[in-house]
Subunit: 292 residues, 2 copies
């Protein structure tokens, strides 16, 4: 079955809703579900499903893992938005989790998602078999933990508080982008590939693609923070610049950022083509990230 | 090898240190390790190891799981102590995590532990085999998530904010104690039993024991909050009473609380004896919880 971008998004939205019935204690499930089901691009789960399909697997086998990765992503948003972190009031055009449910419940909703997500993978593991399940859990924990997204967030916060003291800002920024963003992209792609029984070589190819795409996505995000409005993005923009934060645009300027972004996106396309990785969906995603 | 309480504690302390080398980014690993390695009674990991031994298993096979449960416990302490939750400055006689590392890093250290703990179980699963590993992960996720400790914490916070409106305070308090405390006790006992290949009947017995002991422990905690000093307990006491919080003592008074505690502890002993569960260590733990 040929899946278009919108088919995947619709499927993911339905499954996220289905996997998260509101149960007692209602308040925690409502808070968890609120951010998970905010209208979003669903890039990570779509990437997981599409990779599985691309390598000859049945993308339906990857649905629980794809949804778990989206839940993990939502968890990082909930905690990143907290007053003690980025202190954001809006996300995707809606009030952030702590603004609706209070700080305590937002912390706990994030905590609960950090358990709910891998639990979902384990619960739905029968089709995968034990070996593949363990393999995927290892990938998941690596990306979710102190060597993955959390490493990116910690160094991001530190760099914000000490911009002038950063000895090697280029390297630091690359570290932040790699871990804060590319690690979850790579997790989505690699787990989809593992479910499809991809070869070691294919895993390497898709990892190179995920690293490139993750960094491109983050450069675009930095550009948009400077050039977009609240109405366009659904969150408060320009905060990074105001905070003197280390970003791609603060380091290289807006013009070079745009040039580098588009070069990165061309490189992502090259990786697909040279390895004969055929995916209209990935090409569409790359075009959506492009900024003219 | 016959293990005494102190042998187990020493072993757990050594292993917790060994499992958590400080790696880059240092700040997050230091924050994680700070609370995990605070001097503590190590009740949960000791209970896990001792149950494994009691049911004829090799307690060494349970070490990663026992340590993971202690890390999960430390995570709950870090987030519970945050200003938006219980706002505590001291824990086990030392400054709380956010007081040392700042709120943002304390949130992230807790998040990282929520991933690090089950990752530790998976990483060290070879000896257990896939089936037992999946079984233990299911137990772990249930106790750690929105039906377990988090459910207890959510209802605890809600009850604190609306004591007068609680329709059935006895039942609510039992719910809080069960989930906030007994669920991790049961996880420790059940996972130790599963590793030792305990029967379904033995699992039920040890679960009944864990429920009884968890509630007893929490009654004792509520009593001590009212009757102890900072120097005795290493944290600010009397806060629950000042906050008008729903506790065993606020509901039943100090005298009845003491009486009920000792009855509960006798019941725990009965459960051990009637099921022929022989453990000096468990009997010692029960005596330590007793308040004259």
């Amino acid at each position: 079955m040929k899946m278009q971008m919108n088919d995947y998004i619709k499927l993911v939205d339905e499954k996220l809703d289905e996997f998260m019935p509101i149960q007692y204690p209602d308040d925690i499930f409502k808070a968890m579900k609120y951010t998970v089901t905010l209208q979003g691009k669903r890039l990570r789960p779509v990437m997981c499903l599409e990779t599985c399909r691309m390598f000859g697997g049945n993308f339906e086998d990857a649905i629980p893992t794809a949804c778990a990765i989206e839940m993990l992503h939502a968890q990082t948003l909930i905690h990143d938005d907290l007053p003690c972190m980025d202190n954001d009031d809006y996300r995707r055009g809606k009030l952030t989790n702590h603004k609706v449910f209070g700080e305590a419940n937002a912390v706990l909703a994030g905590d609960a998602l950090l358990t709910f997500a891998p639990q979902l993978i384990v619960k739905n593991s029968k089709k995968l078999g034990a070996e593949k399940l363990i393999n995927i859990l290892e990938e998941y924990f690596h990306a979710a933990g102190a060597f993955g997204v959390i490493a990116g967030q910690v160094i991001d916060i530190e760099s914000e508080r000490a911009t002038s003291k950063i000895p090697d800002p280029e390297k630091t920024l690359e570290y932040i982008h790699t871990h804060k963003t590319a690690d979850l992209f790579k997790l989505a792609l690699r787990s989809g590939a593992i479910i499809a029984d991809a070869t070691e070589k294919e895993l390497e190819e898709i990892t190179e693609f995920g690293q490139c795409m993750g960094v491109a996505f983050q450069i675009a995000d930095d550009i948009l923070d400077e050039t977009s409005t609240f109405d366009e993005m659904g969150k408060t923009m320009g905060k990074d610049k105001d905070a003197g934060k280390l970003t791609y645009t603060s380091l290289y300027g807006l013009e070079k950022s745009k040039k580098d972004l588009n070069e990165k996106l061309d490189k992502c396309l090259d990786i697909l083509h040279k390895n004969n990785l055929k995916s209209e969906v990935f090409e569409q995603i790359l075009e959506k990230i492009r900024i003219k």
